[in-house]
Amino acid sequence: MQGLKKDLLLTGAFLSALCLAPWVLPSGYYLTVLIMCCLNAMTVVGLNLLLGYAGQISLGHAAFYGLAAYTTAILTTTLGLPVALGMLAGVGLAALVAFVIGIPTLKLSGNYLAMATLGFGVIVYIFLNETVGLTGGPSGFTGIPRLNAAGLTLSSDRSYYYLTAAVLCAVVLLSLNLIRSRLGRALRALHTSEKAAQAVGIDIARYKLFIFVLSAAFAGAAGVLYAHYLTFIAPSSFGFLFSVELLVMVVLGGMASVWGSVTGAFFLTALPEFLRMFENVEIIIYGAILILCMMFLPRGLAGGVSSLAVRLRGRARPGEDDHAS
C-alpha cells in the first residue's frame, strides 16, 4: 500500500505546484498556457489509460473533446441551460457516443482499430463543420457563457485556472487509483495477452469498452472546460491532427505512465510557445525535437526521468512502482 501514499503525495505536490504557478508566472498569458496544458493533460491521461495500459489505440479522441465542447455550447448558449448542466451533458454525451461506437469498433485491433477511430473522428469533424445551423459551421460557435457555479462566477482566468487544475488532479488521482486496482490489472492483462486474460475470467470486451468510455469522458471533461474557457469553439480545433497530437503526447510522455502523460502534455503544449521566437523554422525544430526525443527516450519523458532517477540513486528498484506510477 506504499504506492498509494506515494500517489497521494505526488498528486498533492503537483496540485500545490499548479496553484503556486500563477504567483511565479504572474501574467495572464502564462495562465492561458497553463490552462491549455491542463486541458490537454486530462485528455492525454485518459488516452494513455486506453493506449498505454489497455493497449487499444484511438486516433479519434479529438472527436470526443469536440463533441463535448459543442454539446455544452449548444445547450448553454442556444438553449440557455445552466452551464453546470451543459458541462455534465457534454461529458455524458461524449461517454455515450464512445459507448455506442465502442461496441463494434473495439472488436477491431491494431491498425484497423486506428483506422476505425480515425474515421470516426473525421466523420464527427465533417458533421461539426457542415451542420451550420446547429454548430455555426467552420467559422465557429460564439458567445458561450462562462461558468457560474453556486452563485460564484468563475469569470476571471485565475479562478478558472484553479478549477481546471483541480479537475486535472482529480483525473490524475482517479486514474492512478484505477490502475492500482483489479480493474487496472485486468486492463494491463488484456494488453499483454487477451487469451490469458480471458482464461482467468476477465471479460475483455467489457473492460475495453469501459476504458474507452472512461477515456472519452476525460476527453469530454477537457472539452467542456475548453468551451467555457474560450467561449468560442471551431471545428478546426477538433480535427484529426489534434488526435494525432494527443497520441504523440501519450507516447512522448511515456506509455503506461500517468505522470508521463501529464509531462508529455505540458511539454508539447508549451513547446510551441517557447519556439515562437524561431518563426518560420519553428515547425522544423518541433519536428526535430519530436524525432530526437523518440530516438533517445524510447520510454518517453517519464522513462527518461525515472532512469535518470535510478542512476542518481545508484540502484534499480524493480516491482510495481515501475509499472503503476
Binding site: 492561458t32 467559422s139 474560450l230
Partner: protein, 379 residues
C-alpha cells in the same frame, strides 16, 4: 539534461521578453496567420506590416516615438491565436492589435480585447466581427455582402437569373455561402445548385457535373486558392461555358498562374489594388495603391495581393487614430478610430462610426475580368 535545457529555454524566453520592453516606443501588436492554411493572407499582411514599420519610423515614428509592431504567427490555429493574443495583451503591453487574418480566430479572441479594453482592428472579413458592433473591435476588409452585391449587379445586367454556387467548406466559403443564400433569392435570382467542396479537394468534377445538369446561367465560386483554380480548370475540361464568377478571395496573381488558360473570362469583384494602373487618375486611392504595390514588389520580390492591403489598412488606421488624438492610450485610440472619416486605404475609403466598425461599402469593389492572363476592369 532535459531539465537543464528546459530551464535554459525558460530563462531565455524571459530574457527575450524582458529586453523587448522599451518605454520609448509605441507598441502595436499583430496576430497573423503567417503559416498554416491561411498563410496566403497572413504572409503578405506580415510583410506589409514589417515594411510599414520601417517606413513610418524612417519618417520619424508615431508621436515622436518609435513605432514597434510585435507580430505573432497563429499558424491559422484557434488555440495558438488565443495564446498569441494573450501574450500581446498581458505580457507585451501593446496599445492596439491588428489582425488576426481569419474570421474564426478573430471571433475567438474578441472577448479578451473587451476585457482588456484594447482596440482590435481585424484583417478578417466576417460580418460577425462587426455586427453587432463591439466597442473595441473593428475590421478592414470589404464585406462579403459588398462583393455579392457587385456580382448581382453584373449578373442582373447580363440577364443571368439561374445561379449555381459552389463554396469551400471553411470559414471563408461558409460566410460567402450564407450571404449568397440570403441575398440571391430576394433579388430575383434562382439558386439552382448549392455545392460544397473541401479546402484540400483536388477535383470538383462531380460538383460541376451536377451544376451542369442543373441548368445554371452563371456559377459563383467562393473560395481561396487553390480550390477555385481547380474549379476553373474542371469547368473548362467539362466543356461548361456558363459564365463563372469568383469571389475576391482569389484576387492574387497566383490564381491566374494556377488556373492557366482556364482563368480566361472569369469575373470577380476585387479591391482596386490589383488593377491600380487601370483606375482613373482622379480616384483618390490611385497614388497610394501604385506606391504600395511598387514598394511591396521591390522589397519582397513578390506580386502584391489585396490581402497584404488589409494589413496596411489595419496598421495605418491605428496610427491615424493615434495621431488624431495625439495619444497612444488604448481608450483614446478606440474613440478616435470611430471618428475616422474619408481615410484613403488600400481596400477603399474608410468611414468608421460608432454604428459602423467596417467603414467600407460596395464601392470598395470593382468588377474585373481575367483577360490574356491579367486583370481587366469591366465597364
Amino acid at each position: 539534461m532535459k531539465l537543464k535545457g528546459l530551464v535554459l529555454a525558460l530563462a531565455m524566453a524571459f530574457l527575450v521578453s524582458a529586453c523587448s520592453t522599451e518605454p520609448e516606443s509605441v507598441k502595436i501588436g499583430a496576430v497573423l496567420s503567417a503559416t498554416g492554411p491561411a498563410s496566403f493572407l497572413g504572409e503578405p499582411e506580415k510583410n506589409t506590416m514589417q515594411m510599414l514599420q520601417e517606413e513610418i519610423n524612417a519618417k520619424g515614428g508615431v508621436l515622436g516615438k518609435k513605432l514597434e509592431i510585435v507580430i505573432y504567427d497563429d499558424e491559422t490555429d484557434v488555440n495558438k491565436c488565443v495564446l498569441a493574443a494573450k501574450k500581446l495583451l498581458d505580457k507585451d503591453g501593446v496599445v492596439a492589435v491588428a489582425g488576426p487574418s481569419v474570421s474564426g480566430n478573430t471571433l475567438a479572441i474578441i472577448k479578451f480585447f473587451e476585457e482588456a479594453k484594447i482596440p482590435l482592428v481585424s484583417c478578417a472579413a466576417s460580418e460577425k466581427i462587426v455586427t453587432p458592433v463591439n466597442a473595441w473591435v473593428f475590421n478592414t476588409p470589404q464585406l462579403d455582402r459588398h462583393a455579392v452585391t457587385r456580382i448581382m449587379l453584373d449578373a442582373k445586367a447580363k440577364g443571368l437569373n439561374n445561379i449555381a454556387i459552389i463554396t469551400v467548406s471553411n470559414g471563408f466559403g461558409q460566410s460567402g455561402r450564407a450571404v449568397l443564400q440570403e441575398l440571391l433569392p430576394p433579388n430575383g435570382f434562382n439558386l439552382v445548385a448549392d455545392e460544397v467542396y473541401g479546402p484540400k479537394d483536388t477535383d470538383m468534377t462531380a460538383q460541376l457535373t451536377k451544376i451542369k445538369a442543373a441548368g445554371a446561367d452563371a456559377i459563383i465560386c467562393w473560395g481561396t486558392n487553390p480550390g477555385p483554380a481547380v474549379v476553373a480548370r474542371n469547368r473548362v475540361q467539362l466543356g461548361i461555358d456558363t459564365p463563372l464568377y469568383m469571389s475576391h478571395g482569389v484576387a492574387s496573381k497566383k490564381f491566374i498562374e494556377l488556373a492557366g488558360p482556364a482563368a480566361e473570362g472569369i469575373m470577380l469583384p476585387a479591391g482596386r489594388l490589383i488593377v491600380a494602373d487601370q483606375i482613373p487618375d482622379d480616384n483618390p486611392q490611385k497614388p497610394l495603391l501604385l506606391s504600395y504595390a511598387k514598394a511591396y514588389t521591390e522589397k519582397y520580390n513578390a506580386p502584391v495581393s489585396t490581402f497584404g492591403g488589409h494589413g496596411w489598412d489595419s496598421i495605418k488606421l491605428i496610427v491615424e487614430a493615434i495621431n488624431m488624438g495625439k495619444s497612444a492610450k488604448p481608450a483614446d485610440i478606440r474613440d478616435n478610430l470611430e471618428k475616422i472619416k474619408g481615410f484613403v486605404g488600400t481596400g477603399g475609403v474608410f468611414n468608421y462610426s460608432p454604428e459602423n466598425h467596417n467603414g467600407l461599402d460596395e464601392n470598395a469593389f470593382v468588377m474585373v475580368v481575367i483577360k490574356d492572363g491579367d486583370w481587366k476592369i469591366m465597364d
